[in-house]
């Protein structure tokens, strides 16, 4: 598209300089360093450094603890995404149906978006705290010995619940927007053709909602991969016994706490690759309407 522009030569550089500078200093330079460090083996005091190529990667990828992380992350992401999206969709469908109170419901549904993931985790920890949490009575009533601080599965359950809870608002807002974008005439036509509400939903609404769902799936996955560090750190610290140690958490733990710098760097690089793939995927298939450049 022909774009009219100002003729100034120096001004644009001035305008774009801050962002470029910060990007260079805090993005590219560290990213390059991570890449470099992932190919080295250093001792924690930096006395000896050896170039080892892809050895760190090999070590990481065959490390059972890492594979455990992958599994934990996969389970965590899938369940969180599925749970939060399903609940959000159900609620969005209801909201789309009713006339009155839509604004009020929306206001009431928005809150979790404003809550820090870490705090979300803490809230659920409070509620299910084995000592004084009110809701701890529920699993006990079901005969379960409730102790998330010692039981890995229960810890996972708690963390998934907290993460899903937090994402419901976000998904809700997008599903509502997506539903509103579906032309009423399509639904009316199918109703005239004899389709009942359930059939209408599965044959018309759901398919037309696919772009939104797809988009949300990617966003939720990214969220589960990265933004949930806070939840895990705050609630379980990756435990008990690494049962909630996600990939990001492992990078932090190995790097900061255990000072395994090179392994952590290698893991960072692997994560980078995953993110790039996901983002590229998102932009290529989901944001096809948006044209860059």
């Amino acid at each position: 598209m022909h774009r009219a522009t100002f003729p100034n030569r120096w001004l644009p550089w001035l305008l774009i300089a801050p962002q470029l500078a910060i990007s260079l200093v805090f993005f590219y330079w560290p990213a390059v360093q991570a890449l470099w460090q992932s190919t080295l083996r250093q001792d924690p005091f930096g006395l000896r450094t050896a170039f080892v190529g892809l050895a760190n990667f090999r070590r990481v990828l065959f490390d059972p603890a890492y594979l455990n992380s992958i599994q934990v992350t996969a389970v965590f992401s899938l369940l969180t995404a599925f749970l939060s999206m399903a609940i959000a969709l159900l609620l969005a469908v209801q909201a789309d149906k009713i006339i009155r109170g839509r604004g009020l419901y929306r206001t009431l549904m928005i809150w979790p978006y404003a809550v820090a993931p870490a705090i979300a985790g803490m809230l659920w920890l409070f509620m299910f705290n084995p000592s004084f949490g009110t809701l701890a009575a529920i699993p006990r009533a079901l005969g379960i010995h409730w102790d998330p601080l010692l039981n890995g599965t229960q810890a996972m359950g708690l963390v998934i619940a907290a993460a899903s809870w937090k994402q419901i608002s976000y998904n809700f807002l997008f599903f509502v927007a997506g539903l509103q974008a579906i032309p009423k005439s399509l639904l009316e036509a199918s109703a005239i053709d004899g389709a009942g509400p359930a059939k209408r939903f599965w044959t018309i609404v759901f398919p037309l909602l696919a772009p939104t769902s797809f988009f949300l799936l990617v966003v939720n996955t990214v969220y589960a991969l990265f933004d949930t560090f806070g939840i895990i750190h705050a609630v379980t610290s990756g435990g008990p016994g690494k049962s909630t140690e996600t990939l990001v958490y492992k990078v932090y733990n190995d790097g900061f706490v255990n000072l395994l710098l090179n392994s952590s760097a290698a893991q960072s690089v692997i994560l980078m690759v995953i993110v790039i793939a996901l983002t590229a995927f998102q932009f290529r298939y989901v944001e096809r309407k948006v044209h860059y450049g």
């Binding site: 305008l15 805090f26 928005i110 820090a116 870490a118 979300a120 949490g133 608002s169 109703a191 952590s264």
Partner: protein
């Protein structure tokens, strides 16, 4: 599905309301829980189940919190925590908006060599959330002496690409003719930005402000790494410290108060600026 439409019976609408109310309860419950908890005494809290209604200790708890009790737990006063978190959140929100607008302005309304290269450079940073480059970025902070400073908390988070993309997209919808009319009227780059672009971007800026403020307020990993001294903690980090060092003496009622204080400001902002926020959120990501 349109209400009143063929197929939406009265019963169906009633079910709808029911489910929505249930949804709201699920969504609001944890927050309600912690708010109620902050108004009860420690003893009440330690004896489950927690009453569902606010209790009588509200004033006492909050008064306690603001007069130094929190300092005894976490080593830093709750006011200081709130100030820190506000500075970080505002710094990130305002900083990001200014920097991104400037970059988007340059990319859309000027021609300069390497223009598209710069755009891609910025765009690629989208793919590198801070969690992915923890160690090296931390090292940069140490090298630059930014540990335990506001700058250290704010700067690295200020330059991600989403806001730039949003503004770029929006600027591209400004008709060429508007731009040319302004030029014919005699407006240079600064005037055009101030008199025309800025007012037209107001809704976008409002929405972005909400999103970025929350983003800044809820930061966790980064403040965790970059602040060592308690006095520079954000309230979210301080909370976590309180929980992880919990022992038999932990005044849980005050921890609840801190939680409420950590939740309240962003929730208020979202609720008050709801309209812009929802619109902006849906537009931003799409």
């Amino acid at each position: 599905m349109a209400e009143g439409m063929v197929g939406t019976s009265r019963r169906s609408i009633a079910t709808g309301h029911l489910l929505l109310i249930l949804g709201c309860v699920i969504v609001a419950f944890p927050i309600w829980y912690v708010t109620v908890a902050s108004t009860h005494s420690l003893r009440t809290i330690l004896n489950p189940p927690l009453p569902m209604l606010p209790g009588p200790e509200a004033y006492a708890n909050y008064f306690d919190a603001f007069t130094g009790s929190i300092t005894r737990i976490g080593g830093v006063s709750v006011e200081r925590l709130l100030v820190n978190t506000t500075i970080v959140a505002l710094g990130i929100a305002i900083g990001k908006i200014i920097i991104s607008m400037a970059s988007a302005y340059a990319i859309v309304f000027f021609r300069f060599p390497l223009r598209m290269a710069c755009f891609w450079l910025i765009f690629i940073t989208l793919m590198l959330p801070v969690e992915v480059r923890i160690m090296p970025t931390y090292k940069v902070m140490v090298d630059l002496g930014l540990i335990d400073t506001y700058a250290g908390l704010i700067l690295p988070l200020i330059a991600s690409a989403t806001a730039t993309l949003l503004f770029r997209q929006f600027f591209m919808t400004i008709p060429n003719e508007l731009f040319e009319a302004a030029r014919v009227d005699g407006a240079g780059p600064w005037r055009f930005f101030k008199d025309i672009l800025l007012p037209l971007s107001a809704t976008n800026i409002a929405a972005l402000f909400v999103i970025l403020f929350i983003y800044g307020w809820t930061q966790y990993l980064w403040p965790l790494l970059v602040t060592n001294s308690s006095s520079m903690n954000t309230i979210v980090i301080a909370l976590r410290k309180m929980i992880s060092f919990a022992d038999a003496d932990t005044p849980w009622n005050l921890v609840m108060v801190t939680s409420v204080l950590a939740i309240l400001p962003p929730v208020l902002i979202v609720v008050l600026m709801q309209r812009w926020f929802v619109k902006g959120l849906v537009e931003t990501e799409k």
